[in-house]
Symmetry: C2
Subunit: 243 residues, 2 copies
């Protein structure tokens, strides 16, 4: 793990790093000493580790809960190189959709392929970050919607250190195999007028989660229009579950 | 409005009253002086104005938000006399169900009948309670699930002083006419495994509400098993919307 830069603003220390080939960012409260819960955040498709939807929440988890927060670029996103295999699949999928195939199953298949790479990468990121004195080994949470949900469900299912997760804007197609293996408390976001994930697909993913405690929060609006008060709710959800 | 008794416990003053024929209870913070938001609460079927699901929440709204909270017995509930017409309809409905009719439309019809009485009653209760110095004329909220939703939707639709409502455990059948007329922010509770209100009926009522801001909170469990953290959420919802 190699640190590249460090800045501080509004009470939050932001450290950019690489772990092998993986570029990442770690947010902690200014002056943090000793172990604390860690939230892993997964970004959306076409976005990156410091996209506003990620960093705004990360800073609130750090300031309001005192947590450490880490996000890394997904392969072929942010500062990572293109992946020829992914480009080939995306082009193939485009041709298949133009030939009349449904898009949703193709996206699901693609996310499952990416998850086979990101699950071990993210587990390695947790290992490395928890070795730092100002992070340490406490409960881990996961936050991710859209692509961050498609990649997050298999991560949460596979990683026993994760004790609570905020997921959403994802459909059951991409996550049917792993959803029943998620057993930690989940807050699950659905956008009622989502133009990318059919409402029924989102509700079916919530239904398929294996968790005893899971709470569906659905709000009117398009895929990208999660209301601001859901950030407050995520802060309280993690504060309640991570120690 | 005639006050019958007054007690105080855990920082909350509880005043029992009658308004004409209607028995009610008013909770306010101990020592409250001057105007404050008012939450009207509707109880469930077979319950009454001081049922635990009502009074536990009422005390939290009073203590944590400083609000006044009022609840009254629905006709033929609590301290109110039986209503021969209602008994006749219930008996008729039972016979119709035994003869093969569906229960849900009959309950819906019955709730609509009761609402024609409770909407004007509750509006009169708001008038009377807001005349008190320690309540005054500020924003009004409404909280009610199950029967409290069936009676609450037409009340919220009719009463412009209501600025925010927590509703739920109700289906669209009972509320189809009035749901589109509800335009204030709503937090809407669905129990995912509700044995009395089919899931699809609950989701359809959420869908039918006319509000721009409405948030569906669905949790696993039966009709009576709303998780405790939804009380926290209702406290924050009213604190955000009532001034």
């Amino acid at each position: 793990m190699r640190f590249i830069s460090e800045t501080s603003a509004d009470g939050v220390r932001e450290q950019l790093f690489t772990l092998g080939e993986i570029p990442g960012v770690l947010w902690t409260p200014d002056g943090a000493v000793g172990p604390r819960p860690l939230v892993v955040m997964g970004h959306g498709g076409g976005q990156h580790k410091k996209a506003p939807g990620v960093s705004v929440r990360a800073r609130r988890f750090a300031v309001e809960c005192g947590f450490a927060v880490v996000a890394v670029d997904v392969p072929a996103h942010g500062d990572r190189p293109k992946v020829d295999e992914y480009d080939r699949i995306v082009a193939e999928n485009q041709a298949r959709v133009e030939a009349g195939e449904e898009l949703a199953p193709l996206i699901a298949e693609f996310q499952a392929l990416v998850a086979r790479q990101t699950v071990p990468e993210w587990r390695g990121v947790v290992d490395a970050v928890q070795d730092l004195d100002h992070v340490g080994r406490r409960d881990v949470g996961y936050w991710g919607v859209s692509l961050g949900c498609g990649l997050g469900v298999p991560f949460v299912a596979a990683e026993p250190r994760v004790r609570a997760a905020v997921l959403g804007l994802g459909g059951v197609l991409a996550s049917a195999d792993f959803a029943p293996l998620v057993t930690v408390p989940v807050e699950f976001l659905v956008q009622w007028d989502d133009e990318r994930v059919p409402r029924e697909q989102g509700l079916a993913l919530f239904d398929a989660l294996g968790s005893v405690e899971k709470s569906l929060h659905a709000n009117p609006g398009l895929h990208g229009e999660i209301p601001a008060f859901e950030i407050d709710s995520a802060v309280r959800f993690f504060a309640r579950h991570l120690r």
